[in-house]
Homo-oligomer: 390 residues x 2
Amino acid sequence: MTRIRPILTALLLGLTAVGHAETRATGDLGLVIERADGGLKMIETSGNTVLSSIEGLGDLSHASAVFSRDERFAYIFGRDGGLTKVDMLQGKIAKRIVQSGNSIGGAISQDGRLVAVSNYEPGGVRIFDADTLESVADLPADYGDGKLSKVVGLVDAPGNRFVYSLWDAGEIRIADMSDLANPKVRKFENIGKQPYDALITPDGRYYIAGLFGEDGLALLDLWQPDQGVRRILPDYGRNDEKMPVYKMPHLEGWAMAGDRAFVPAVGRNQVLIVNSNDWSEAGRLEVSGQPVFVMARPDGRQVWINFAFPNNDRIEVFDTLTLERITTLHPGKGVLHMEFEPRGEEVWVSVRDDDQLQIYDTATLKQVKTMPARKPSGIFLTHRAHKIGL
Amino acid sequence: MTRIRPILTALLLGLTAVGHAETRATGDLGLVIERADGGLKMIETSGNTVLSSIEGLGDLSHASAVFSRDERFAYIFGRDGGLTKVDMLQGKIAKRIVQSGNSIGGAISQDGRLVAVSNYEPGGVRIFDADTLESVADLPADYGDGKLSKVVGLVDAPGNRFVYSLWDAGEIRIADMSDLANPKVRKFENIGKQPYDALITPDGRYYIAGLFGEDGLALLDLWQPDQGVRRILPDYGRNDEKMPVYKMPHLEGWAMAGDRAFVPAVGRNQVLIVNSNDWSEAGRLEVSGQPVFVMARPDGRQVWINFAFPNNDRIEVFDTLTLERITTLHPGKGVLHMEFEPRGEEVWVSVRDDDQLQIYDTATLKQVKTMPARKPSGIFLTHRAHKIGL
């Protein structure tokens, strides 16, 4: 057998090398950010299990993820400027760069070839080749007399465009990357003070920035950019009651249900209801804390709301037809994020202080499973690959 | 080496058995029906290539496909009653049954566990375990004095429900499969004569059946089923001009763009525009043939329209904002189907009589690639797995 062993070893090594990547489909995969440890849990939503852990992603506070169009690779944007490409079939980091000192979010282009990162410090948007993570373009957030602005609210839009807002400059910009050698940046100035986050509607048509320094919100119709940015919900402002803001809400989570959008109010125990036909206010939901994420079940019939400290131990679920509260769930301390499965039958919840992932059936509103995770925060499922603006 | 060979052979066989399934992601895969040969082409949309051919699926005229929630398996519904489960990682048929003599379409439940098939002859809906294809339930389409109706317009809806229409009975039915041992079927009678196909809106709320035997369309609000079925577009009828109908349009292709739905008219060279806020008619597009599929680009900015014989050599593209025709494409004879890539940057077109698949860039409206396929008809991409009603 002595002569056989090296051959066997070689074959087995070959098998390992070839077979290291899992043979499995990727449509039901997801990643959970484990912020305290700089790690990820890879999950799957068909059997509701944790598949593996991935380590070494740096500072993952406020981290987010986007996915390659084949749903194999994830791009994780870390707070330390780290951009990490994860191979979900191999369950490991494929490539990692640190692209700046302080990043806040990212996006992937419509064609899947470009990954964009928005930065606080130095302010700007950097664009990378999705395959190699090599730098492709640098879009500085310069304004006024050579100043640099923090960039927030970066999203992808149809036509291989990225749209983002400049906190310090009060601007919205559209970067058209359809000709890579010649990116075209269009600027919209004086959109309002301190845009703090933004969303794009699921069809990619309307870009809406929340304003921290003024009343109302700034809306840009990307189908008709020549009309410029206009103010909507002028009667809504965070300043009139001078409430302390415990945590800035996330606008990416704005929920669309039919022709109604549900928007977390800043610093108030309210969710704004907006008529998306004319962007007028259509009412408010009174909730029991400052809302952080307001997420619509994919069919739009329910919105799920989590809250800033000290009310971050609960989730309120509202019926979008009756506008009544259906239930209040108490998953535990530190409910940070919720992610619906693609067709909405279940929702995953991260409960940071209890080191838990929890899954709820959205029809019965009952918890169906709990799994351990280390200080989980953001949950991202691969079907986002197929969505505009996610 | 004589003693080594059997070991090597065993190992290599093992490797083949293990390694036969492709290690690749499934988010960018798709299948094209090759109707004349009872086969499929497996395609991928990142590099725009044909990966393989799969044979032996029986009569695939009027065939359609749905996908498992992990995007690994496809379920193909053939006209001969065949239900074939295809493993896209292995590139082969995983299981095949012939479940009736004449089927017309199918759907997969929200939780991915059930596959439903609607049948012409004998009329009814049969429900199978998505894993094993074993029969789970039989929902006869009985009406009146023990008669059986053809079933059309079968779709999935949130809450593990299936919704379908009875051509002969003039009924819409909702089958709630959330308790498998006790399916609940709710009947809505007298909805209009000869419902011929139906659609469900992308949020899963409204089920709308086209009527062949009467004016208007039948609408059921699945959020408020107690309100019953009501007639919409009462001024639209196919009968008033007695035009011959060359091919029944497909309603599954109804396009939603913002609060406008674009609907192929039966027997007329028109596309109806419907206001989805109140389901009133909001106008018509004049087109150059009887429309078959009216498909919205995923961002809703364009609708692409193909036509019945003798105008099945062209595609008309309209701008949904200006309602103007942007272009008329001439792919060739027998343009049967169009499928947009998930975020809409490209669209695949099957051109039957030229044995071609063609891909168009939806921004430039130019053809970017052509590939051979044998009499291609339906094109189905895996991202449908994540959609309600597809």
